[in-house]
């Protein structure tokens, strides 16, 4: 492979470009108009304009991207996550054009992309699945019959789903009709497919997923688990490896189940098999993500395996290192996703310009960010700015490092979720590793994670403003030599002063 086209933006495009440079492979990126001067372009070898800001007129233009790849002589396309990464038709078009799609085969993507199909396949391979969900439901009557059979509470899910869209929890029969309607219309709006199905709702579960790698020779290995129970709107925000409650026995069983699930579709490349783990230690297959995950760095930090490099090597026909098959995690890694959102206003998006960005450094800290100072955060794309990942020799050290790193992190211009994570580190349940997938929303709602007032009683703002004001006022006056009369002030000084005064009076805009 000499040249790879990266079809994504933000932190994951940066991540892939970095791996390509480390392997001496030329990196090409596509960019939309608003991303012209963003990090992926700045760090890549080549960059090509693909369209206007909205994703549908840029990063989702499948045919144009395949044509571009041919035109520039790219050997492969790396899709990152999101956008075209789990689009079987796109993977197929790449294949037809003679371009390697870095990911599994179009067939594997297609069968894992359908929740019902993937459940059927993995169940046949002996992997436990959540009861229910064998067929999509044609109408409310079918839904009622299915729900009675499984027993409440049940979960409605979109067949083509992902990212929590089209999901509804139904606790009793009287809630079913409205939830069924809502789930269908949300599924239609999100995926262009209104098919939904029912599953038994597992109470208070953890979300635990297994990272797998498969090579072209048919070897499939598990690289261990990630605990991703801290979620909002069914989207992960904090992930760690290993899971705080994992035992070597459970890891072995879940790893084997994941490998079996992957083998059932001839899986190649990097993938993730997601499970729910209930309070009794029983786990159930959820779905397979046929791509690199946002949270892949925590696995990288505890295994030492560079997953993007592994993807690229597998795509070039290299076999997996057999030593990886029995690898155990070393130390503990935690990732927090830094979103441009206000966690205390229902995670409302906070678009704006990043006018200050200071990322933490020091031992055990890794930053995977896709923005720089001056970057515009727009509503066109996912609001994740990047990820802060820490490693420690055990969970306790990782938590302390996370606290230290969040203390150093400074982002201004947009609200971010970093403030929430600072509070989370004071939460006894999080610190003890007592997690479940509803915990974060529950604790936000109850006010347990409300911002802790900083220096109580200290009027920090007033002190800062007073000193700033004092210095501005006195500095302005300093331009006049002490003891001289006004009339002796030189013309140039007067002009300078006049200019400064005009600037000051213009008002409205903030300045240093």
């Amino acid at each position: 492979m000499d040249r790879v086209l990266v079809v994504n933006r933000g932190e994951i495009a940066v991540r892939v470009v970095r791996a390509l440079r480390e392997l001496n492979i030329r990196s090409a990126v596509v960019y939309s108009t608003v991303d012209r001067a963003e990090l992926p372009v700045l760090l890549a070898d080549e960059a090509y304009w693909i369209g206007e800001a909205s994703a549908s007129s840029s990063y989702l233009k499948a045919q144009e991207i395949v044509d571009l790849a041919k035109e520039i002589g790219a050997d492969a396309i790396h899709p990152g996550y999101g956008f075209l990464s789990e689009n079987a038709a796109f993977a197929g078009s790449c294949q037809e054009a003679g371009i390697t799609f870095i990911g599994p085969t179009p067939e594997a993507i297609a069968s894992m992309g359908s929740k019902i199909e993937s459940r059927r396949l993995v169940r046949a391979a002996g992997v436990p699945v959540v009861p229910g969900g064998d067929d999509s439901l044609p109408d409310l009557t079918a839904a009622e019959r299915e729900a009675e059979k499984i027993g409440y509470p049940v979960m409605l899910k979109a067949t083509a789903g992902g990212g929590g869209k089209g999901m509804r929890l139904v606790r009793s029969a009287d809630q079913l009709a409205s939830a069924f309607r809502a789930a269908r219309s949300e599924a239609e709006a999100s995926f262009g497919d209104d098919a939904v199905y029912l599953e038994k709702f597992v109470e208070g579960p953890r979300h635990i997923e297994i990272q797998i790698l498969g090579d072209l020779a048919g070897n499939v290995f598990s690289l261990g688990e990630r605990e991703c129970s801290l979620q909002r709107r069914h989207q992960k925000v904090v992930e760690e490896a290993p899971s705080p409650i994992m035992t070597s026995e459970l890891r072995r069983r879940m790893g084997e189940a994941a490998v079996d699930a992957a083998r059932s579709v001839g899986y190649t490349g990097a993938g993730t098999v997601e499970f729910l783990l209930d309070r009794h230690g029983d786990f159930y297959f959820l779905e397979v993500n046929t791509r690199l995950q946002v949270e892949h760095p925590v696995t990288e930090l505890v295994t030492g395996v560079d997953l993007v490099e592994a993807q690229l090597r597998i795509a070039q026909g290299e076999d997996l290192d057999p030593n990886w098959e029995s690898m155990l995690p070393s130390g503990h890694a935690i990732e927090v996703r830094v979103y441009a959102e206000d966690p205390y206003r229902g995670f409302a998006p906070s678009p704006g310009t990043i006018d200050l960005l200071r990322l933490p450094e020091g031992p055990g800290v890794r930053n995977d960010f896709g923005v720089r100072e001056g970057s515009q955060v727009t509503i066109n794309y996912d609001p994740m700015l990047g990820k802060l990942i820490v490693w420690g020799r055990n969970r306790d050290q990782a938590l302390r490092r996370l606290g230290r790193a969040l203390h150093e992190l400074r982002i201004e211009g947009v609200q971010t979720t970093a403030s929430l994570y600072r509070e989370l580190l004071r939460d006894p349940d999080f610190c003890a590793g007592r997690l479940d997938i509803e915990m974060l929303e529950r604790k936000i709602q109850s006010g347990e994670l409300d911002p802790t007032p900083g220096d109580q009683g200290l009027p920090l703002g007033a002190i800062a403003a007073a000193i700033e004001h004092f210095e501005r006022v006195t500095q302005r006056a300093v331009s006049f030599p002490a003891g001289r009369e006004g009339s002796s002030v030189s013309g140039s000084r007067l002009r300078w002063r006049e200019q400064a005064r005009r600037e000051a009076l213009r008002g409205g805009s903030w300045s240093l």
């Binding site: 920090l460 703002g461 007033a462 002190i463 006004g486 000051a504």
Partner: protein, 168 residues
């Protein structure tokens, strides 16, 4: 320097003066020893009684400051007590002749305008040196400088009238 700071709806009375290498800032009667240093761009290090606080400070050039600290962002309005009084009394007495007094003892260094000049709100009228610092005394209102009551080199006490502005 005496200041009135509007801080989240609270009116704080602040006295600030330079002391060896730093500041003494008295807020509502509570005194703080503060050392301030610029830490790049908008960042400031405040050592308050030796404890480090990092804040970023932006100004709109009109006495409003946006301060971002660990507890989040706030916008504060800094006024000298006269402006504050003028602002407070603005509703009552709409226009007329206003005397501007020295808010601290010092020495007049320079006059920036002459009697009869038209000044804008916020324009400097004279420079007062106090505590080895020079401070520009600005007119809070637009109007005509009807009278200048001091001359360069003259010492004044706090409360002494400096000039009068007619904003009719």
């Amino acid at each position: 320097m005496e200041l009135v700071i509007l801080d989240r709806g609270v009116e704080r009375h602040v006295l600030i003066e330079r002391v060896r290498g730093g500041y003494r800032v008295e807020v509502d009667g509570v005194s703080h020893e503060v050392d301030q240093a610029r830490a790049g761009g908008r960042l400031r290090s405040l050592l308050i009684e030796g404890r480090q606080h990092e804040v970023s400070v932006l100004s709109d050039g009109n006495g409003r400051y946006r301060v971002v600290g660990t507890a989040g962002e706030e916008v504060l309005e800094v006024r000298d007590p006269l402006t504050h009084l003028a602002q407070a009394g603005a509703d009552a007495a709409a226009t007329g002749v206003k005397a501007v007094t020295a808010y601290m003892p010092g020495r007049v260094v320079a006059l920036l305008v002459s009697e009869g000049d038209l000044v804008e709100a916020g324009q400097g009228v004279l420079v007062l040196e106090a505590m080895k610092m020079e401070n520009e005394i600005r007119s809070e209102v637009a109007g005509v400088v009807s009278q200048i009551l001091v001359e360069p080199g003259q010492s004044v006490e706090g409360g002494d009238p400096l000039f009068e502005i007619n904003d009719d």
